[in-house]
């Protein structure tokens, strides 16, 4: 870079405040790119934490019907990278709450179909094993309304709870608590659903109704068997993953098996599973482990079975995570458009400057400036404007992101309404140094691009014509 290119560029800029507009445009775009993406990254980070909390590292699924856990467990536990595995049983059901001796059906406003309808995905778990594969204790701790008595036995109901629950709905109970033994299995709902079930106490009965193909005596596939079982409300959980929380009720897996006709007491029953949750040693490659397990499990399945799947926690929530990712991508595009507009602003200003400075360009040539060095005057202008805007944007953006919550508090702005988003610690913000570096480099590159045409115009100017330009 020749000395005159830089010094003249600085002089030109000093007498043209219009360039501040370009710098402000870049600063604004950079600021927005940093702040919005920091909030998005924090938001997505939170969502991924929530999803991670509700999902095991790996999940064996798409198993053929009527698979026993005992058959598959050895194949899974034989893998050196598997820490623990837990059986899971899924069954779609409808639940009803008793008011007095009557069942209550909730109003089904379409927009609250998850929370207020009676549909529920029953997830049968073995609490002891489940504790080893997912962050279940955390989910129980997070629930704000009421806590389960014993995190080790989250699905257990005390005699007193069930005794009071039975009394509450008018079921016959022995007069003395000491004579009563609890028999209802426990059921955990997320606090999101419980808020619509006012006055629900631990021990209150919940009637669960479902159906299954097959039944006593009928050959499989030839009859629909209605299923009914009474559970007792045992407490609430909260993974933070809204979709999961709104649809899922956790119950003991043995009770769900009993409901489906596989009572542990009978001789020909099996320890039925639909999925198997797996915890994997830290540092193991999830994809490789998943591939190994899939092969191992498939071997144990009856010949001719459809291929089963082993999904990583990200694959288990793929649609959801992809949707969030697309949102982030769209936001990036919008903000990059802002950046492009700022670049056009710089381009327009530079173009104007070249046209104003035609005579100067001739003078510079006459004094011995090479065409490249003459063009560099405008490249320098653009770099100073773009770079200045970029640095200002980065500083402001990082500060804004860092102190976003206090700033929002002072301005009384609620970025994410409390009714919709559950953010006890304010708006989550995650600054990614790599992203900041990318934005900075991008701003500089765009500034260079903005300077390209004006600089070329300046460099190609015929000095004789330029000197006689009026």
């Amino acid at each position: 870079m020749r000395a005159f290119s830089v010094l003249l560029a600085l002089r030109y800029l000093r007498s043209r405040w219009i360039n501040v507009v370009g710098a402000l445009g870049v600063a604004l775009a950079v600021w927005a790119l940093i702040v919005v993406m920091a909030v998005f990254a924090g938001f997505i980070g939170g969502i991924r934490d929530d999803v991670d909390r509700s999902s095991p590292a790996l999940l064996v699924t798409d198993l053929p019907p009527l698979q026993p856990f005992a058959l598959l467990r050895p194949a899974i536990e034989a893998d050196p990278d598997v820490l623990a595995c837990a059986p899971r049983l899924r069954q779609v059901a409808e639940f009803f709450r008793r008011a007095g001796t009557q069942l209550v059906e909730h109003s089904q406003a379409i927009e609250f179909v998850h929370e207020e309808s009676n549909f529920v995905q029953l997830l049968g778990i073995d609490p002891v094993r489940e504790l080893q594969t997912t962050r279940l204790p955390e989910c129980l701790q997070r629930a704000p309304i009421c806590r389960v008595l014993d995190p080790e036995q989250p699905l257990a109901i005390t005699d007193e709870q069930e005794w009071r629950g039975r009394q509450k709905v008018g079921l016959p109970v022995p007069p003395r608590l000491a004579d009563f033994r609890a028999i209802w299995p426990g059921l955990l709902l997320s606090f999101r659903r419980v808020r619509y079930l006012s006055g629900l106490d631990a021990g209150d009965p919940i009637d669960v109704v479902s159906a299954a193909i097959g039944g006593p005596g009928a050959p499989p596939g030839h009859a629909v068997m209605p299923l009914h079982k009474v559970f007792a409300f045992a407490g609430v959980f909260d993974t933070g993953h809204r979709m999961y929380d709104e649809t899922t009720a956790l119950v003991p897996i043995e009770s769900l098996r009993t409901m489906l006709g596989q009572d542990a007491g009978s001789d020909d029953s099996i320890d039925l599973v639909t999925d198997i949750a797996i915890a994997v040693r830290a540092g193991a490659g999830l994809q490789q482990v998943a591939e190994r397990l899939r092969a191992a499990v498939q071997q144990r399945l009856p010949a001719g079975s459809k291929p089963c799947s082993v999904l990583t926690w990200e694959q288990q929530n793929e649609v959801f995570l992809v949707a969030v990712g697309i949102e982030q991508g769209l936001m990036k595009i919008v903000l990059l458009a802002v950046m492009l507009i700022a670049t056009f602003l710089i381009y327009a200003t530079l173009h104007m400057m070249v046209m104003q400075k035609v005579k100067d360009l001739g003078i510079l040539s006459a004094l011995g400036g090479t065409p490249g060095a003459v063009g560099n005057v405008f490249v320098t202008c653009s770099l100073v404007v773009g770079g200045g805007g970029c640095i200002a944007g980065v500083v402001l953006g990082v500060l804004t992101a860092r102190y976003l919550n206090p700033i929002l508090a002072v301005l009384h702005i609620e970025l994410f309404p409390r009714e919709v988003y559950d953010m006890p610690n304010g708006v989550p913000v995650r600054l990614d140094p790599l992203w900041i570096a990318q934005v900075t480099v991008g701003a500089f590159v765009l500034s260079l691009l903005a300077a390209w045409l004006p600089a070329r115009k300046a460099a190609r100017m015929d000095p004789v014509e330029a000197l006689s330009y009026e």
Binding site: I363, S365, V464
Partner: protein, 231 residues
């Protein structure tokens, strides 16, 4: 025999207006010896300015050669021509052509920034400032270093332009009607300054002028008519 510091050999220059060729220079031969002051006379449109531009490598001849110290230079690559223009010649224009954003001192200093890298320049900035100040004092503008061109009179501007042309220590000054835009008293002052510089620095001058009196004081007069030297 002394090698001419600047020479033109059979220089032709034409412009194209659509498909019509307009010849401006038709075989100009010219030699300027070191320290020589040559006046270039001719009517408007005779090709004086074009010749000056071609001599200063701002424009390329259609045919013929330009020689600096006996070396042909007109066909060199653009970057080398720019360097030679910087080292070998200094321009003084009728309309001064100063950069309006810069002060008188900065306009003169600019001449030393043209071929220096930024850091190279910053290292010798004090020396350049001293030299530029010295030249401005020499042309009588010691009190006006910090003034912008818009705050200077025509004569003062032309003095700044002369100081600028001198800073890079060229061998030849190409002056295109340097007094054409000045009143006669100021013009006389500026001319005196140029003659003084010619004597003190031993610089060669090619001076385009209409003024016969000025031409008389030069060492040699060349008349240009319809793009050719007539005497």
């Amino acid at each position: 025999m002394t090698v001419p510091v600047l020479a033109a050999a059979a220089v032709h220059k034409s412009y194209w207006l659509g498909r019509r060729e307009i010849p401006v220079l038709r075989g100009v031969d010219l030699q300027v010896l070191p320290g020589e002051m040559v006046a270039l006379l001719g009517a408007s449109g005779a090709g004086k300015s074009t010749l000056l531009h071609v001599l200063g490598l701002l424009d390329q001849p259609s045919a013929g050669a330009i020689l600096y110290d006996g070396q042909p230079v007109h066909a060199l690559p653009v970057v080398q021509r720019a360097r030679l223009r910087h080292q070998h010649v200094g321009f003084v224009f009728q309309f001064y052509h100063l950069i309006p954003e810069l002060t008188a001192l900065q306009n003169v200093e600019l001449a030393r920034m043209m071929q220096c890298s930024l850091f190279g320049y910053l290292r010798q900035r004090r020396a350049v400032r001293t030299a530029a100040t010295g030249l401005l004092v020499q042309v009588g503008l010691g009190e006006r270093l910090g003034h912008r061109p818009s705050e200077l009179s025509g004569g003062e501007r032309q003095r700044v332009a002369i100081a600028r042309a001198l800073l890079a220590r060229p061998r030849v000054i190409l002056a295109d009607e340097p007094t054409g835009n000045l009143d006669s008293a100021t013009a006389a002052d500026v001319m005196e300054l140029m003659f003084a510089i010619n004597r003190q620095h031993g610089l060669a001058f090619v001076l385009v002028t209409h003024n016969e009196a000025i031409a008389q004081r030069c060492h040699r007069t060349i008349r240009l008519r319809d793009g050719a030297v007539v005497s």
